[in-house]
Amino acid sequence: MTALTERAVRPVLTVEDLSVVYDVANPVTAVKNVSLTLAPGEILGLAGESGCGKTTLAYAINRLHKPPARISSGSVTFSDADGSDIDLLALSDEKLRAFRWSKLSMVFQGAMNALNPVISIAAQLDDVLRTHRPGMSKAERRARGQDVLQRVGVDPKRLNSFPHELSGGMRQRVMIAMALILEPQVMIMDEPTTALDVVVQRDILREIIRLRDELNFAVIFITHDLPLLLEISDRIAIMLRGEIVELNSGEQIYRNPQHPYTQKLLGSFPSLTGDRGDFIRTGDHALTGDNR
């Protein structure tokens, strides 16, 4: 892993100095001068408390932000495996449309709602293929759909199901399958497991890691669950009020957090198996300072 973090490899995604502003009555700069790189096959964790700008950053990378959000500065460059560089912020609408999903796909926060409730899973998978792979025959598309479902551990027989007929975990997997279907080089996952049962969550994480090993796509994994990130990420970026305050390997973040905020975040998770700390159930721990 360390090799990846040393930028020995040409990064697949480079974000430089990116800022996003919400043009509301009191404009909010939700993402401030963020720079990061993503190496092929790397899992980059992005952690931070609610509202720190994680989702906004993810949207901006794929230019999915809608007014009132506006990218006020910076650049996003996608370095294709074929060697070309794509300046995402300069793409025309049609080129951007073609770029999306085929090179960079996303799994959204609350993916349960990311599926269209009135059309079947098959049709939704098919939509992607029909748009991006116009040459494929119907049978091929169906086979491909079955294939990706299989990969994420969903019975391909469920292809004709409607979203409401699937459990939350299954829907999440379907979303991941959909993100995989074009074999993109980058996948952004925005809190893909937050609403799930720990056991199911674990299954899905395991699945993601396995697929990443198999297909070698890079992942930006967003969550506020730091312990989780520590388990799965190669590198972790800690975000605070729109800025990345610390970006380091998981090992470093855990053993040697630099920024006080990182330290606080780590302190917010009592250890499962570790010692019972002195602060537990005393009621006067320093962390209760946020009580106004």
Partner: protein
């Protein structure tokens, strides 16, 4: 299954309630057909005296002495047999014949107009809602104003301008009476020509509701996650608009459409009055004015069946277009 059983149960209860109401209301109304027909005869210069009254009573059958529940039983039995009785206002024509003659006109005119305004309204609403906040949004208050205008007022003014002053379209009747009704081009063209203005007024006055409802639903739907996903998936806008946004946003409108389809039959009274259009609405008015219970009951029955039928249809349709319905029950 229970979804359908429950639905069926509802329809049966609704049907029974409507039938019973149907039975009761005319019996609670003032006037009786003999007096009304006599008065009518008298107005037209006919001679009216005791002999006339006697003969009319014999002809039309005076009040019956049977207890009300026997009448109710007979009524239900006759209905089940499809016998709607005789329409005294056009004695001795059977009610079913009167309705059979009027119904196609209403269904064609108001039905087509309703479908048209639904399609136009929902279509425009989808477009307006797709890009909310643009100049297209000004369509909304404009159509609302049209919807707030009393229908007959709008219709009369349009008749005055389009039909009387400009002589663009005929504003009276269902077809050129010189022609014989039948499935020939000439007649159909004439029927279309005569139906255009009435249909136009219906569309104008009802399009606003659809448009506004659809627009608001579009706005809500557009902020759903699956729309964003569809965009991230790099789908074409046309596909997102059709398959994702409008498809979901139209669901409540479709439920509303069922109800309005059902009311096609009853909603036509004013249209038919303004445009001297043949149809069920004018028959209903005729029945009410002549205390023609049987005709009234027959028309109510048709209206209720239409409403229930349309609802049933859309309930079933809904099961297809919104897969969640079946589970929700």
């Amino acid at each position: 299954m229970s979804y359908f059983v429950r639905k069926l149960g509802f329809y049966l209860v609704a049907l029974w309630a409507a039938l019973t109401l149907n039975f009761l209301i005319p019996r609670l109304m003032p006037g009786n057909p003999v007096d009304v027909l006599l008065a009518k005869l008298q107005q037209r210069g006919g001679i009216v005296d005791a002999a006339t009254r006697r003969s009319y009573e014999l002809l039309l059958g005076g009040g019956t002495d049977e207890p009300i529940w026997v009448q109710y039983g007979n009524y239900l039995v006759n209905l089940a047999k499809g016998d709607l009785g005789i329409a005294v206002s056009v004695f001795p024509t059977p009610v079913s014949e009167v309705i059979g003659q009027a119904l196609p006109w209403t269904i064609a005119l108001v039905g087509i107009a309703t479908i048209l305004s639904f399609i136009l309204g929902v279509g425009l609403g989808a477009i307006v809602g797709w890009k909310p906040g643009t100049w297209l949004d000004s369509l909304v208050p404009a159509t609302t104003l049209l919807a707030a205008v009393p229908y007959f007022w709008l219709a009369l003014i349009l008749v005055l301008i389009i039909s009387s002053t400009w002589q663009l379209l005929p504003g009276m009747g269902g077809y050129d009476v010189v022609l014989s009704p039948g499935w020939n081009t000439e007649f159909i063209l004439s029927a279309i020509e005569y139906g255009t203005l009435p249909a136009l007024t219906i569309v104008l006055s009802s399009i606003g509701g659809w448009l506004l409802g659809m627009r608001n639903m579009m706005v809500s739907t557009l902020s759903e996650d699956y729309i964003l996903t569809a965009q991230a998936k790099g789908l074409r806008n046309s596909r997102i608009l059709g398959g994702y946004a409008a498809r979901n946003a139209a669901l409540p409108s479709i439920a509303g459409f069922a109800i309005s389809l059902g009311f096609v039959v009853s909603g036509s009274i004013i249209t038919e009055q303004v445009f001297s259009y043949p149809g069920i609405g004018s028959k209903l008015l005729q029945a009410v004015q002549n205390s023609d219970y049987a005709l009234m009951q027959g028309i109510f029955l048709v209206i209720t069946l239409a409403v229930l039928g349309a609802n049933l249809l859309v309930d079933l349709l809904y099961g297809i277009i919104d897969p969640r319905t079946r589970a929700r029950s």
